[in-house]
């Protein structure tokens, strides 16, 4: 060597070797072999790189960042480490060969069997939580007869514009939304037969300019009928989330909803137990007014995960009626914390399914010669 270096030589390999010690806890592999490390630059003791996660809503983002800094700093001669966390959401297996919704990476149905369990509230708050983490999110209100998204998002007076025969969704807090409520005068009932519901939903899926989305959440109407079939047949769903309240009368219908998705082979991402106890406005204690453990019960029966339980906070109803969802208006509340955790768990689960290829489904089409 002609020139004497001032300190030990830091090579790309030595940095990557250290980074191999950092494992993604959900994917069970090190972040180097997962291909997460991008833009690695080494300049005189200063190392900088990006960690490209599979979702901006990663539950362990901060933890991974700290680990990366720690292992790289342990290399002798390194003075400064700069880690930037980015994300590139993987396209769900069903969306890889997509026919409908070609610019959407993951389509998630939020369903229940029964009405009134808070599906729309759950869908909105999960959407907002995902968007707050930096994901590109869409929210489709598939309840044609009883759309509630416009009110709950404070967008009752909005009318979507159209461009080149495509409808531009309404946007709030980074979430693109479409609902029958935007297309009909407020207070007017939609009196339609099933085939018209099918037509409207097909248009929502195919003629709305959703743009590039990481997650499209579909707020399903209650029941197991036309709307559910149309969505299961026309949108290649990455998975479904079942919402229930803890008492038996809601569980009966939630089981049916679960069974329906299993019949049409849509993976169940998990169960959300809503109205799981009442949050006292004075002492914040949670009282189980509707019995306990119902969500856990059906999740166990079906062999799926209980994603979480959301207590009934009077603020939820208040913020919904005012069009300011909890996750946005009261981000530090217990309810909002649970929503954020659930959103991240769902995002992580979809990443795992897509990367492991556990979900090998691929839509097919063929013309006979």
């Amino acid at each position: 060597m002609i020139f004497k270096s001032k300190g030990p030589v830091i090579t790309e390999e030595s940095v990557l070797e250290k980074l191999r010690l950092v494992k993604d806890p959900d994917l069970h592999r090190d972040i180097v072999s997962l291909g997460f490390i991008k833009q690695l630059k080494i300049e005189e003791g200063k190392v900088s790189f990006q960690v490209e996660l599979t979702t901006p809503a990663c539950p362990v983002k901060e933890q991974l960042k700290a680990q990366c800094e720690e292992v790289v700093k342990s290399i002798p001669g390194i003075k400064e480490v700069s880690v930037t966390m980015t994300a590139n959401v993987r396209t769900g297996a069903t969306q890889a060969n997509r026919i409908a919704l070609p610019t959407v990476k993951n389509v998630i149905a939020v369903a229940s069997g029964k009405g009134g369990v808070g599906k729309s509230t759950v869908t909105i708050n999960l959407s907002m939580a995902l968007a707050a983490d930096g994901a590109r999110v869409g929210l489709l209100d598939a309840d044609i007869y009883g759309p509630s998204i416009p009110l709950m998002m404070g967008t009752l007076d909005e009318k979507p514009e159209s461009k080149d025969k495509r409808v531009i969704p309404i946007e709030r807090e980074g979430v693109k939304m479409m609902s029958m409520g935007y297309l009909i005068p407020a207070g007017e009932p939609v009196v339609w037969r099933g085939p018209m519901v099918h037509g409207a939903l097909t248009q929502f899926l195919n003629q709305v300019e959703w743009g590039e989305l990481d997650y499209l959440l579909i707020d399903m109407p209650p029941g197991t009928g036309d709307a559910q079939l149309t969505i299961s047949q026309s949108a290649p769903l990455s998975g479904a989330i079942i919402v229930t309240t803890p008492q038996e009368v809601s569980l009966i219908d939630a089981r049916k909803g679960l069974k329906m998705f299993q019949n049409v082979k849509v993976p169940i991402l998990g169960v959300v137990e809503n109205m799981s106890g009442f949050v006292c406005g004075h002492c914040q204690e949670i009282t189980p007014i509707f019995r306990q453990g119902g969500g856990q019960k059906i999740a166990q029966e079906a062999g799926v995960k209980l994603l979480g339980s959301i207590p009934l906070d009077p603020k939820v109803a208040e913020t919904s009626d005012l069009g300011r969802p909890m996750v946005i208006s009261n981000p530090e509340s217990e309810v909002s914390k649970r929503y954020r955790q659930m959103a991240r768990d769902i995002a992580a689960k979809l990443s795992v399914m897509s990367l492991e290829g556990t979900d090998q489904f691929k839509p097919l089409t063929m013309d006979w010669q």
């Binding site: 069903t94 026919i99 299961s232 047949q233 290649p236 019949n263 090998q360 489904f361 097919l364």
Partner: protein, 105 residues
């Protein structure tokens, strides 16, 4: 893992091949497939009575287009215009006419 087809293949003028995600390779005579349609026009929804008569199906019937329905079935558009039948993956697999499946029935 859920049973699902990975690949559809036309085998000559009248046969369809399917490669499944469990490795099995199915063979179907397409006219037999048409005759096994379970849609409400072909089989009575309440009584399960067979409404489709065999001689009503042209001997040279063939699919025009085959495509996925959601993630649980295939839909076939037939040359006689019939297009209301869904074949769920389980039903399709049960109809497999490969020598192995035939001999086990």
């Amino acid at each position: 893992m859920n049973l699902a087809p990975l690949e559809l293949k036309q085998l000559g003028p009248g046969h369809l091949g399917i490669i499944w995600n469990d490795g099995h390779q199915s063979l179907f005579n397409v006219r037999n497939l048409r005759l096994k349609c379970r849609c409400a026009n072909c089989v009575d929804e309440w009584t399960r009575e067979q409404l489709l008569k065999e001689d009503a199906v042209p001997s040279d019937i063939k699919p025009r287009k085959i495509e996925s329905v959601g993630r649980y079935a295939l839909k076939v558009e037939w040359s006689d215009g019939h297009d209301t039948g869904f074949y769920t993956f389980e039903h399709l697999r049960a109809l497999c006419e490969c020598p192995l499946c035939k001999s086990s029935r």
